[in-house]
Amino acid sequence: MATTACFIIVSRNDIPIYEAEVGSAIKKEEAAHQHQFILHAALDIVQDLAWTTSAMFLKAMDRFNDLVVSVYVTAGHTRLMLLHDSRNEDGIKSFFQEVHELYIKILLNPLYLPGSRITSSHFDTKVRALARKYL
C-alpha cells in the first residue's frame, strides 16, 4: 500500500468528478490542496501526451518532487489520475483498468449525467477496495 495516493477522476471538461485520498498516510491539512494542485497541473502534460500514444495508460507522466502522476485516459477523454509515491506500475495499471470498468458502470446508469459528480457510495467503496488491493 502506498503511503500517498490521491485518486481523482477528471471529466472531459477538466472538472474533477470524483476524488479520493486512498493513501495509507495520515491525512494532512495541506495535502488536500497540494494534491489537487499537482494533479491539476498534470492535466497540461496529459493534454500533450494523450494524443501521442494509443495506449490508455500513461505511466508516470508527470512528477512533483517524489510524487508521481500516472494517468489513464478513457476513450471519452475522461482521465483517471493517480498521484502516488509507489512504483508499483503493474498494480496501478490494474487499478486503473478496474476503476475504468466501474466508471463505465456508472456511465451506464441512465440517471447519471456524464460529466457530473459521481456521488455513488457504492462506487466509492469499490474504488477504495481496489486501492487497497493494488496500490
Binding site: 472538472i15 474533477p16 488536500a32 490542496h33 489537487q36 494542485f37 497541473a41 497540461d44 502534460i45
Partner: protein
C-alpha cells in the same frame, strides 16, 4: 534557427564572459573621479562596451576574422575575489523588494486569460528578474576553477597629484593588494600592465602631467603608458542629454553624475578605451592563444601525447584525492588549456575553445577533479550553443555539468545555479520552454526560498510561453512561487503571483485549489492592511463544506478578523454564509384572503377557490359602479401584476437558511430590504423601477430615516449549527399606503459582516403564495400595492380535536375576533365537508352536551331540523344579522357540530366571507380561511344483517355485529336507533338483556339481535306508537340512561349527509338506516387524545334485507275454528305475497293434496332443475340450495303421508294460481281449504314457484331469468268440534 549571438544567452555570454581588466588606482586618482560622483571604474565603464569595434583577430588558425561586439570588464583588484555570499543574498533580496514596490499594483484586478496569452516572450521575464539573474550569475565569478575571470591586463592608475608617481605605480602592483587568485597561483602573475596617469584639469596645467608621462614612458616603456585628462569642465555644470553614467548613479538625486566631465573628456576616455582594447587587450589575448596553442599541441595533441598522457594520469591515480581533485597551478598544462579555451571563447573562436575544453574534460574526469570537470562541461555546452551545432551535445554537456555540480554538494550548488541559468537561457533561445521550466524547477529545489521563488516564477512564464501554453502548469508554478515569496517575507510578490494565477483556477470544480488561492490572497492582503480586498477574496471561500472542521474554522476566523479590522461594517453581496435556498422563498400576504393561521396557507388555492365559488361576488360585480370605481382603480390597474396588501398587516416572507459548514455560525439582524414609495410618488417610482435592475448589486442603504415611519421590519437572529437548515420568517408591515417592493434580504454574520442578497435576479418561478403559482413575472411578485387599513376578522374553532375516534360527535365553537374598530356585515360561512362539520343553532351554545341531545320527557316535536337542512343544501350558512360584528364588538362565538364519521384524515376547509361596512374602494369584501386536519382513528365498527322473519311478513331479524377496532379504548354501547317512522326496532322478546356485555373492550366483538318491524305496511298502527319505539337502549345498567333523540338537530343532519355518502346497495328497494350511539368508557382513556369523545354515533345506512328468494309470503287466516261438521268445513285463507326484488316476479302457487304430493314434488323438482338448466344463467348453487332446503320439507311430507294415508283436508278452489307481481308490490291471494274432521292441520302443502325476470339495464334482450321454488311454511289450523 536563430543566430545564437543575438539570442538573450548570446548577449549575456558576451557580457558576462568577457576579458577582465584589473584596475589598481591610487586614492588621489579616485578623488579626482569622485568629483563627478563616480569612481574610476564607473567612469570608464560606459565606454568598455563596444558595439562595433571591428578589430581583426587571428587565433590559432591562420584565417583572421573580425570581432564586432566586444566588452571589457574593468574590475578593481580588490573586487577580484569570490563574493561574499551573504552580501550577495542581501543584494538579491534588495532587488526583489525594490521590484515589489515598483511593479506590484496591489489594488488592480487580477489578469484574465486573454491578458496572459497576449504577453509576448520578449516582455518576460521582467527587467527586475533579469537583474536578479545577472546578480545570481555574478556570485560565482572569479572562481578558481575557471579562467575567463582571470584578468587579461592590469590597469594601474595614478593621479598627477600623487607624489612620485613612478614609485606609486610600482607600489600599486605589490602583492599585498593583489587578489588572492594571483597570490595563490591560480592566475598567471605575468600579466600585461598598462600605466595610466590621471590628470585632473582643475588641479593645474597639463605640463606637469606630461612631464610625469615622459618619465613613465622612460621607465615602463612607451607603449604601456597613457595620460588621461578628466574634469575639464571647470564649473561642473555639464548637462548631458543622455548621461552615459546614469546607470551608475547611486540615487536618483545625483543628477550631476559626471558633471565635471565635458565632451572632450568623454572623447578622450572613449579613445583611451578603444586603444586599450584593440591595441593592448586583444593582441595580448591573440598572442597568448597562439603561444598556448603551440604548447598544447606540442604536449597533448597527437597520438603519442595522448597515450603518454593517459599513462601518466594512470600513474597518478594512487595520489591522494581531494574533493576538488589535485590543485592546478597556472603553470600546469591543464590550467593552460583552460586559459586557452577561455581566451578562445572570449575571442569567439568557439571551435578552438571547444576542442580544448574537450581535451580538458577527459583529463579532469580522469583526475576526478569534478568541479573543474563540471566547469569545462558547462563551457563546452555554451560553445556548442554558440556554434549552433548539435543541440543534443550542448544539452548533454549542460546536464552533466549541472549534475556534477550538484553532486559536489554545497560547494557546487551555486555553480549549479549558474549553470542551470545558462541552460535555461539556452533552452529558451531554442524555444524549448517546457524543458527550460523543468530546469528552473530543478534550480529552485537547490536554492534558498527567495531565489527559488524567483526561479519558479520564471518557470511559470516558461510554461506560459510554451506552445501550446500550459496554463495549469503556469498557475501551479506561480502558486508555488507565491508560497516561497510568502515564506521569504515578500508578501507583495506573493499576492502578485497568486493573483496572476487566479484566472487559471477560475470557475472549475477544483475546490481545494480555489479555496487555497483565494484564502491566501485574502490573508496576505489582510497582513498588508488592505482589508477590503482581503474580504473580497475571502468571502468566496467561506462556504467550504468539503474542508475539514479546522480549516472551516480557520477560514471563518480569518474572514471575521479581516472584517473587524476593516472598521466599518462590511457589506457583501451574495455572501456565502449562510446559503440561502432561493427556491424555498415563500411569500405570505393577505389581501382579500385572510387566514386564521399561517399553516392554512399551505392548502391548495384551488380548493379555496372552489369552496368560495358561490360565496364571494364574482369579479364583474367587484367593480360595482364604473363611474365611481374607474379612477380609483387606476393605480391598481397600473400595477395589476402586483399583489395587494393592507396597511398594518404584515407580509411574511419565509426563507431557508442553510449552514454549509460543520461549525455553528451566528446570524443576527436578518431583515428584508424593501422600497416603499408613498402613493403620491407612485408614478415616479415606476420610472425608477425601470432602472432598478441595474443597481441590484449596490449595497442597500441602511439606517434610512424613513424606514421606521414607513414600515415595521422584523429582525431575526439565530445560531445555525453545523449543516443545519432553518426556515426563517421575516415580516414587513407597511405603515403607509403606496407601492412596496421587497427586493432582498440582509443579515449580519457574527455581528461583523453584513451580507445581503437580492431576490429576483436568479429566482424564477419560485414565488408562490399558498399554492397559487403565479403567471406573473417574479419581480412583480414581490411588488405590493399597499392600500389603506381594513377590518380583519380572525377566527378559530375552539375545541376541535386533532385526533379523535371515528363517530365522535361533539360541539365545537367558532370564535371570530375583530381587530380594528370598524364594523363588518354580511358574514357568511361555507364548510367544505358538511358531512363532518355543520353549523348549529345559537341555543346550542348554552346547552349541556350530550345531555341536550337526550329525549325530552315532554315529547314535543321540533321543526328546527328542516330549517337547517334547508341551509345545508347550498352549504352556505349566513350568520344572522344580529351576529354581525358592529363597531365596538370585539368577538362572537357560534356553535358548530362536529362529527368524525370516517376513520382516516379529514381535511376541513372553512371559509368565512364578510363585507366591509364602510365600503372600501379596493376591497369590498374579505374572506377568512380556516383549515383543520383531523386524524380520525377507527373506533367501533358496526355491521347489520337483516333477514326476514320466517313467521311474520313485516318483521325482520336484525343481527348487529360490533367490533372494537381500537387498541386500548373500551366503549359502552348506548343506543341503537332506526331512522324513519316506517321502521320500528325492538329487542327480541326472549332476551332479558339485549347486549351481553356492558363494556366493549379493545378488539372485542359481539353480536346482538333485534327485531325490526316495517310499520308502514301494517295498517292500523298509530303514529305515536311508532315514534316511541324507534330506539333501543343497549346499556343495561341500572342507571336511568336517557335515549338520544335522533330527530334532533345535529344527529338528523349528520344522518342526512351520511345517507348521501353511503351509497345504497343495488337491487333492494327497502333499506333501513341505523344509528348506533356509544360512549367512551371513562376508565381507560386514550393517551394521545386531548379530549375524550363523549358520544360516538355510527351511522349505518341503506341496510337491505337479505333473502334468497325475491318473494315473501305469509299465510293468514284463522288459527282456531269451531265447526260442527254438519256441513263442509271450509276455511278461507289469505296468502299475502310481497315482491321485494327490483324486478317483476311471476309466482305460481301450487297446492296439492296428499295423493299427488310425491309426484308433484318430483315434477316440480324436475321442472325447477330443468328450468335452471334451460336458462344456463342461473346459479347452480342456488338450485342446489333450493333442493337442499326442499329435502327436509319433502321428508316431512313423506312422514306425514306415512302417518295418515288420507288427507283430512283438501285444497279447494284452483290448485294452481299464477300471478304477476310488480316490483315492490304486495298481492293477496285467497285460498280455501275444506276440512273433514276436527284436528290440528299443518297447511304447508303448497309450493310457490317464482320466476324473476330482471333486465340488466340494456333492454329486454339481455335479460336474466331466474326461477325457483319455495315450499310452504307450516301453518297450523286447529278445528274443534263442539
Amino acid at each position: 534557427m536563430m543566430d545564437p549571438t543575438n539570442s538573450v544567452l548570446g548577449k549575456l555570454l558576451l557580457e558576462e564572459i568577457s576579458p577582465v581588466v584589473m584596475v589598481l588606482s591610487t586614492p588621489l586618482a579616485e578623488q579626482a573621479c569622485a568629483k563627478s560622483g563616480l569612481n574610476f571604474v564607473e567612469m570608464l565603464s560606459p565606454f568598455s562596451v563596444f558595439s562595433k569595434i571591428d578589430v581583426p583577430v587571428r587565433t590559432a588558425s591562420d584565417q583572421p576574422y573580425r570581432l564586432q561586439m566586444f566588452k571589457l570588464r574593468l574590475v578593481y583588484a580588490s573586487d577580484i575575489h569570490q563574493q561574499n555570499y551573504e552580501a550577495t543574498v542581501e543584494r538579491l533580496k534588495q532587488v526583489v523588494s525594490d521590484a515589489s514596490e515598483k511593479i506590484s499594483d496591489l489594488q488592480s484586478d487580477p489578469p484574465q486569460l486573454e491578458d496572459a496569452l497576449q504577453m509576448s516572450a520578449s516582455d518576460y521575464p521582467p527587467p527586475w528578474i533579469q537583474t536578479f539573474n545577472k546578480e545570481l550569475l555574478r556570485i560565482m565569478s572569479f572562481s578558481e576553477h575557471e579562467a575567463f575571470d582571470h584578468s587579461v591586463a592590469c590597469l594601474l592608475v595614478v593621479s598627477s597629484k600623487d607624489e612620485r608617481p613612478i614609485n606609486k605605480f610600482v607600489d600599486l602592483f605589490n602583492t599585498d593588494q593583489l587578489p588572492s587568485l594571483l597570490n595563490e597561483g591560480a592566475m598567471d602573475p605575468k600579466i600585461l600592465k598598462h600605466y595610466l596617469l590621471l590628470h585632473d584639469a582643475q588641479d593645474g596645467a597639463l605640463e606637469k602631467a606630461t612631464n610625469i608621462l615622459t618619465d613613465m614612458r622612460s621607465t615602463f616603456g612607451s607603449n604601456d603608458c597613457k595620460l588621461l585628462c578628466i574634469n575639464s569642465s571647470l564649473d561642473g555644470l555639464v548637462e548631458w542629454q543622455n548621461n552615459p553614467w546614469a546607470p551608475y548613479a547611486n540615487s536618483p538625486s545625483d543628477r550631476d553624475v559626471g558633471c565635471f566631465l565635458n565632451i572632450d573628456d568623454l572623447n578622450e576616455i572613449k579613445d583611451f578605451m578603444q586603444n586599450l582594447t584593440s591595441k593592448l587587450v586583444i593582441p595580448q589575448m591573440e598572442q597568448k592563444i597562439r603561444i598556448l596553442n603551440q604548447q598544447v599541441s606540442a604536449t597533448r595533441k597527437g597520438f603519442r601525447n595522448q597515450i603518454k598522457n593517459l599513462w601518466w594520469r594512470k600513474g597518478k591515480e594512487d595520489s591522494p584525492d581531494t574533493s576538488n581533485g589535485p590543485m592546478y597551478t597556472f603553470s600546469s598544462i591543464e590550467s593552460q588549456i583552460r586559459v586557452l579555451g577561455d581566451y578562445a571563447f572570449m575571442l569567439r573562436d568557439y571551435e578552438l575553445a571547444l576542442s580544448n575544453y574537450r581535451l580538458l574534460s577527459t583529463d579532469y574526469k580522469l583526475d576526478k577533479a569534478w568541479k573543474r570537470y563540471a566547469g569545462v562541461q558547462e563551457m563546452m555546452g555554451l560553445s556548442y550553443f554558440m556554434l549552433d551545432q548539435s543541440r543534443k551535445e550542448s544539452e548533454y554537456c549542460m546536464e552533466s555539468a549541472f549534475n556534477t555540480y550538484l553532486k559536489l554538494g554545497s560547494s557546487g550548488q551555486r555553480n549549479a545555479t549558474r549553470c542551470g541559468l545558462w541552460w535555461t537561457e539556452m533552452l529558451k533561445a531554442r524555444g524549448q520552454f517546457k524543458e527550460a521550466a523543468g530546469i528552473y524547477f530543478r534550480i529552485s529545489s537547490e536554492e534558498p526560498s527567495l531565489h527559488a521563488a524567483v526561479m519558479l516564477e520564471q518557470a511559470s512564464y516558461c510554461y506560459l510561453f510554451s506552445n501550446p501554453p500550459m496554463l495549469r502548469k503556469y498557475g501551479f508554478h506561480l502558486v508555488l512561487a507565491g508560497n516561497l515569496y510568502y515564506i521569504s517575507d515578500q508578501r507583495q510578490h506573493a499576492i502578485r503571483t497568486y493573483k496572476n494565477a487566479l484566472f487559471v483556477y477560475k470557475g472549475n470544480g477544483w475546490n481545494y485549489i480555489s479555496d487555497h488561492v483565494h484564502f491566501n490572497i485574502g490573508r496576505w492582503y489582510a497582513f498588508l492592511g488592505i482589508f477590503d480586498v482581503a474580504v473580497k477574496h475571502m468571502h468566496g471561500v467561506l462556504a467550504c463544506k468539503h474542508q475539514s472542521l479546522i480549516t472551516q474554522d480557520l477560514f471563518l476566523n480569518e474572514f471575521l478578523h479581516a472584517t473587524q479590522n476593516l472598521g466599518t461594517t462590511f457589506e457583501v453581496n451574495e455572501l456565502q454564509l449562510p446559503v440561502i435556498d432561493m427556491s424555498s422563498l415563500r411569500v405570505i400576504y393577505e389581501d382579500h384572503r385572510t387566514y386564521s393561521s399561517s399553516a392554512d396557507i399551505r392548502a391548495n388555492e384551488s380548493i379555496w377557490q372552489s369552496l368560495e365559488e358561490d360565496l364571494v361576488p364574482s369579479v364583474s360585480t367587484f367593480k360595482s359602479n364604473w363611474l365611481e370605481s374607474q379612477p380609483k382603480f387606476s393605480l391598481l390597474n397600473k400595477y395589476n401584476n402586483s399583489s395587494l396588501c393592507v396597511v398594518g398587516e404584515p407580509i411574511k416572507i419565509s426563507l431557508e437558511f442553510k449552514n454549509p459548514l460543520q461549525i455553528p455560525i451566528s446570524l443576527s439582524g436578518i431583515s428584508l430590504i424593501f422600497e416603499l414609495s408613498p402613493r403620491s410618488e407612485a408614478t415616479e417610482f415606476e420610472d425608477a423601477e425601470v432602472e432598478g435592475d441595474a443597481e441590484l448589486s449596490v449595497p442597500p442603504i441602511s439606517g434610512d430615516v424613513n424606514v421606521d415611519s414607513q414600515c415595521t421590519l422584523s429582525e431575526v437572529g439565530l445560531v445555525l449549527g453545523g449543516a443545519e437548515i432553518k426556515r426563517v420568517q421575516l415580516d414587513i408591515t407597511p405603515k403607509i399606503e403606496g407601492v412596496l417592493k421587497i427586493i432582498g434580504v440582509q443579515w449580519r454574520l457574527s455581528d461583523s459582516v453584513t451580507g445581503y442578497r437580492y431576490f429576483g435576479v436568479d429566482a424564477k418561478k419560485k414565488y408562490k403564495q399558498g399554492a397559487r403559482m403565479s403567471r406573473q413575472s417574479p419581480s412583480n411578485y414581490l411588488n405590493f400595492v399597499v392600500i389603506k387599513g381594513l377590518p380583519k376578522l380572525e377566527g378559530c374553532i375552539l375545541g376541535i380535536p386533532k385526533k379523535t375516534f371515528a363517530g365522535d360527535l361533539r360541539l365545537v365553537k367558532l370564535e371570530l375576533k375583530k381587530q380594528t374598530n370598524s364594523s363588518v356585515k354580511n358574514v357568511k360561512m361555507k364548510i367544505s365537508h358538511p358531512r363532518f362539520l355543520i353549523p348549529g343553532n345559537i341555543e346550542d351554545l348554552s346547552a349541556d352536551f350530550p345531555r341536550s341531545l337526550e329525549k325530552q320527557t315532554t315529547s314535543e316535536v321540533k321543526d328546527a331540523p328542516d330549517c337547517i337542512m334547508e341551509k345545508s343544501r347550498s352549504h352556505i350558512f349566513s350568520f344572522p344579522e344580529a351576529a354581525a360584528l358592529t363597531e365596538g364588538e370585539a368577538s362572537f362565538t357560534w356553535p358548530l357540530w362536529f362529527h368524525a364519521s370516517l376513520a382516516g384524515t379529514i381535511s376541513l376547509y372553512i371559509s368565512i366571507y364578510y363585507e366591509m361596512d364602510n365600503g372600501c374602494s379596493e376591497l369590498g369584501y374579505r374572506t377568512l380561511r380556516m383549515h383543520y386536519d383531523i386524524e380520525v382513528l377507527p373506533s367501533v365498527e358496526v355491521s347489520l344483517l337483516i333477514s326476514p322473519c320466517p313467521s311474520r311478513l313485516q318483521e325482520f331479524l336484525v343481527r348487529m355485529d360490533i367490533v372494537n377496532r381500537t387498541i386500548s379504548e373500551s366503549f359502552c354501547l348506548h343506543q341503537l336507533s332506526s331512522i324513519g317512522s316506517q321502521w320500528e326496532i325492538s329487542s327480541l322478546p326472549g332476551f332479558i338483556s339485549i347486549c351481553p356485555l356492558e363494556v366493549l373492550l379493545a378488539g372485542q366483538k359481539i353480536s346482538c339481535f333485534f327485531k325490526l318491524k316495517d310499520c308502514q305496511k301494517i295498517s292500523g298502527y298509530e303514529n305515536k306508537h311508532l315514534v316511541a319505539s324507534n330506539d333501543v337502549l343497549l346499556s343495561s345498567d341500572g342507571k336511568a340512561e336517557m335515549l338520544i333523540d335522533i330527530s334532533q338537530s345535529p344527529v338528523v343532519d349528520f344522518h342526512h349527509f351520511e345517507r348521501l355518502n353511503q351509497e345504497a346497495p343495488q337491487g333492494s328497494s327497502t333499506a333501513v338506516d341505523f344509528i348506533l350511539f356509544s360512549k367512551a368508557h371513562g376508565s381507560n382513556l386514550h393517551e394521545e387524545l386531548e379530549t375524550t369523545p363523549k358520544l360516538l354515533s355510527n351511522h349505518v345506512c341503506n341496510c337491505s334485507i337479505t333473502t334468497k328468494s325475491p318473494i315473501w309470503w305469509l299465510m293468514d287466516g284463522p288459527r282456531t275454528i269451531m265447526h260442527d261438521f254438519s256441513t263442509f268445513c271450509e276455511v278461507n285463507l289469505t296468502m299475502t305475497i310481497h315482491n321485494c326484488s327490483e324486478a317483476v316476479v311471476s309466482v305460481r302457487i301450487a297446492t296439492f293434496d296428499f295423493v299427488s304430493e310425491t309426484k308433484q314434488s318430483a315434477e316440480t323438482t324436475q321442472s325447477s332443475d330443468s328450468s335452471g338448466c334451460q336458462g344456463g344463467w342461473s346459479d347452480i348453487s342456488l338450485v342446489n340450495d333450493i333442493k337442499l332446503s326442499s329435502d327436509p320439507l319433502r321428508n316431512m311430507l313423506k312422514k306425514q303421508s306415512l302417518e295418515s294415508s288420507t288427507p283430512p283436508f283438501v285444497w279447494c278452489a284452483s290448485s294452481s294460481t299464477r300471478i304477476k307481481l310488480a316490483k315492490g308490490s304486495v298481492m293477496e291471494v285467497p285460498l280455501k281449504i275444506c276440512i273433514f274432521s276436527p284436528g290440528t292441520y299443518n297447511l304447508s302443502q303448497y309450493e310457490l314457484h317464482w320466476n324473476q325476470e330482471s333486465s340488466e339495464g340494456f333492454g329486454a334482450e339481455v335479460s336474466i331469468t331466474s326461477s325457483g321454488m319455495v315450499g310452504g311454511h307450516p301453518f297450523y289450523l286447529t278445528v274443534l268440534q263442539p
